[in-house]
Amino acid sequence: MWQKIYAWLDERLSLNGIYKAVLDRPEPKGNWWNTLGSASLFLFLLQGVTGILLTMYYTPSPDHAYDSIQYIMNGMTFGWLIRGIHHWGSSLMVLVVFIHMVRVFVTASYKYPRELTWIIGVGLLICTLGMGFTGYLLPFNQKSYWATTVGASIAGTVPWLGNFILKVLRGGADISALTLSRFFSAHIWIFPAAMAGLIGVHLYLIIKHGESEFPTKED
């Protein structure tokens, strides 16, 4: 019965082909440092799932953001767990993505034919940091308010364009309801959508080129 269903699906979706290409592809000798990309992907998905759950109760308005998070933390069943995973997962993701980059650099895996994989990875690193920056404002407590003040001011030090960039980031001259709603939009739509696309290409390139062998002394 299940075999029949599987055969029907496989004939149309080529599940076996996908399995072979994605999970059964030839690899150089295994190494734990090579698992950091998968770890980053896992953390991205974990942040996605817990983030979607948080939007069910979080309210991106200066009047309600703080209260809604207090309610998630204290009034909801397992709200503390979902938010806790999202909170700690974000720090962990920045860390894992960064170590992943260091590993690729040290083993020189960014060289031909994998330059594009590296460049897209840089984009993913920037998006990950952007996620961290925009997410930090959302609780709208003192710490997030001042962190965003400082972060946006740093962007404001860009020569010539600084003041304009500052206003675009904040949605005006000050941190306001507009800042909170645009950070929220960037956090749940713009960055995740960009990352999903970049991850897709990143994975395609990894599957296409395979993983690089660690360099030896002769290299």
Binding site: V49, Y57, S68, T77, F78, I82
Partner: protein, 172 residues
Amino acid sequence: MAGSHHGSAVSYHHISRRDFVKLTTAALGTIMGAVIGLPAIDYLIDPALKAPKTDAWIPLGKLEKFEVGKPALVTFTRSKVNGWEKTVNSYGVFVLKKSDTDVLVLSNICTHLSCRVNWKEDRQEYVCPCHDAQFGINGEVLGGPPPRPLDRFSGEQVKVEDGTLFIHLLEG
């Protein structure tokens, strides 16, 4: 094909490295999925389990002020704490005084899909603006889609104290 097991000398108690990794991955994946998945379900349905309850006697006004034989709409509000916010809900009931001792109190919530009905004096019926349900002056269904008459406050849900009419509002 049929004789392929010929070459596999793996004993029953020996588990290959590949199978071990597969099994461990599946087991850990299941545990991790359950650790997040089960609380997530509870998290999603939580407001339904914590819906605030209402249990209060609501004064509708002096009985003597109601006109005999003509339904009058009485509105009131109740505030509830929903999650992290206080919400004010509006209610409406129709009071029909039939005599000085006989009062009928009907909910204005249509029994079809919960729109609010209006009393049409010229037609002597309650009409729902959403799907044209029609109810008689005592709440009975005259036409349209409603499955049952308008809900009424009766018996122990209605009382008169010092000439003031009260209804007992029970929710949740």
